[in-house]
Symmetry: D5
Subunit: 94 residues, 10 copies
Amino acid sequence: MLYLVHMQVQIPADADRALTDRLKAEEKAFSQKLQHEGKWRHLWRVAGQYANYSVFDVESNDELHTLLSSLPLYPYMSVNVTPLAQHPSAIAPN
Amino acid sequence: MLYLVHMQVQIPADADRALTDRLKAEEKAFSQKLQHEGKWRHLWRVAGQYANYSVFDVESNDELHTLLSSLPLYPYMSVNVTPLAQHPSAIAPN
Amino acid sequence: MLYLVHMQVQIPADADRALTDRLKAEEKAFSQKLQHEGKWRHLWRVAGQYANYSVFDVESNDELHTLLSSLPLYPYMSVNVTPLAQHPSAIAPN
Amino acid sequence: MLYLVHMQVQIPADADRALTDRLKAEEKAFSQKLQHEGKWRHLWRVAGQYANYSVFDVESNDELHTLLSSLPLYPYMSVNVTPLAQHPSAIAPN
Amino acid sequence: MLYLVHMQVQIPADADRALTDRLKAEEKAFSQKLQHEGKWRHLWRVAGQYANYSVFDVESNDELHTLLSSLPLYPYMSVNVTPLAQHPSAIAPN
Amino acid sequence: MLYLVHMQVQIPADADRALTDRLKAEEKAFSQKLQHEGKWRHLWRVAGQYANYSVFDVESNDELHTLLSSLPLYPYMSVNVTPLAQHPSAIAPN
Amino acid sequence: MLYLVHMQVQIPADADRALTDRLKAEEKAFSQKLQHEGKWRHLWRVAGQYANYSVFDVESNDELHTLLSSLPLYPYMSVNVTPLAQHPSAIAPN
Amino acid sequence: MLYLVHMQVQIPADADRALTDRLKAEEKAFSQKLQHEGKWRHLWRVAGQYANYSVFDVESNDELHTLLSSLPLYPYMSVNVTPLAQHPSAIAPN
Amino acid sequence: MLYLVHMQVQIPADADRALTDRLKAEEKAFSQKLQHEGKWRHLWRVAGQYANYSVFDVESNDELHTLLSSLPLYPYMSVNVTPLAQHPSAIAPN
Amino acid sequence: MLYLVHMQVQIPADADRALTDRLKAEEKAFSQKLQHEGKWRHLWRVAGQYANYSVFDVESNDELHTLLSSLPLYPYMSVNVTPLAQHPSAIAPN
């Protein structure tokens, strides 16, 4: 089941650099693990912004929330979720 | 080159039914042709709305505009375009 | 799986009264059938508005979209969907 | 009498961790007490956000305000209230 | 129990004049009846707009909705409701 | 002459508690003095928010601004003013 | 007493041309009468829009509303009013 | 003197086709005349929308308004104007 | 050439009081100098807000920007500029 | 390929002055290098704001993002990108 997820990251200018560097590295590792598992199906950078549009493929709203709220940078993110359904003109199933 | 495209369709209640039925059929055919060519890479229905989120893979802003403005339902659409770039954590190229 | 759904109805002043009366009756019947089936779990009127907040309990985004887009008044509605997850402080499962 | 309540929590990054952990524990206990009393009828997590949608069942606007402003995390919340009425198509009373 | 109600009226330019004149007269009569009963406690014109801010004093959300949706001009109104509570600095009860 | 005034208070989490407690006490005293004088005609809490809707009865825009900008909590407030006029259907003068 | 007034005019494409031409002529005459009387103190076109910013100098909110709602084009206008007070750095009284 | 101008065109579905075709042709001719004169310095299509961003180089706000309000499609446009100044890092004068 | 300028001032609660007092005094002096020169033609307080609406009369967008960005409180301001043109119904030139 | 880019800069009042002065100097140098290379085709100051509208001429969304995210002041910017296409009435190619 697919969801479009919009994540905007806002790290305060006075945040501890060592901490945020570590979080970013953990975020990247976690994100790539989920991509390899097929749960984080797409990950695109929004041109010109510290933001991404992603597509998640999960079993349920609960699984989606569990994954998103586990992101290391989650406390610095503003997240918006759009549930996606099969489009009748799509040539492939979701 | 990828773009996230948000299309919202608004057909007036008093529109000519035969006309809009024809346009919808043409829209579907055109959309599927572009999907088969790989230019309209993803097409998802927004759950609960007469709207879709799509990802286009085209050569340029000009090609994108040419395709979108050729859509049979374009006069009834509100379209928003977000240019996408390669995300450094993505495991696959765009 | 639960979704909060916000439906705002806007019937044009010049709409055919007989048609919209029939649609409203069909909407009520369909809505009550879904409530009896447990799929439309809650239905509340927003005080002072021709709008409701509802909670749907369905298997998937696709089932949700199928139900919503089948509503007789769907062409006159503006619909917004918020996917809900289990809250860690809730004393009952969703 | 029912109200839909939307609570968004924003705890500053530099907040005292011990304090906010204590407030969160108190919030959970208070929330569960109100749920057991039937005043906080529903509590759902918004998927992907530190936010919830809740339904309160109270005697009056005053009781609602008293409860909400007593929440331990209230100073960190942005709260929005929508008064709900009986929907004519609902199969059960509110 | 008090509610602040914001009503904005929008009558289409091509509406039937005889009909809307009748509705306006009925609206005035109904509004004055409710004011005399003490249910429509205040009624103020927003300077420069076909809109009012009102304060209703009713038993419940349901009574409020019943009154508002009975207004003759209701189909032409955009209505917004804010539930009011006792302010701790107010020198008089609500 | 009446004005609807919407005041939203936002006191930063790290504000000096002694200072803000003193300001709140002064605010209450000043507010009650103005209510007794008839200038602050109504004061209602917005349910669920650190905000109020008030009605002021003053001689002029200048008097209104002088009063509002003298509020002890004014530096922490976001204030919005709506000038009110006599409504033709009101049964009492403003 | 001064008010900044923002007027945006929207005449439907299918409006009766003879009628709107007459209303525009009446609007101009009425506006110039009020300017000569000193009540409509300033009238400026917003560059690129069928809109103006104006400053009215009137006795009260009521007089302002009476004037604005008497404008021949009022039914086609969206009007916003900002009450103005004396600025402490202004070198002239309002 | 430069201005960024955003024009969004909205032609109603039931507009007279012959009329709008004529207006579009006149719009194109007028636009190209102004471009050749150097007053309409840039004209870009917003990808995916019936809209453009333009840069005008004119003597004054008045000249800008005269030009924009003379556009044949002006009655169907929503126009927004941003006055531009010389940027201190620009390598060329405006 | 006239511009309507909206200035909203937001001085952080923890700003250095001596510094901001000095800036406010300088702002007042600079503002009055520009008013005497005729460049800052009008200056009005928005009732209930730390904000003003002003009208500037300058030669160009560049002069306007130079003046505004020279304001001592400019770093604490949110500024919005609306270019004004001669209104055809105005009885006096701009 | 052209993009309209809107950059708004917000430097916190308590930022380290030496650091931000250095960043501003680097920003200017980098910006002028890109202008000389033809990639940053236009750079205009928004009158009255610490903001600019720019036009970039680059090969792709990726190149655009690489350039923008390399700006020394990027962490202090809010950036918005609008992809531009050839306008059919433009007398010159993009």
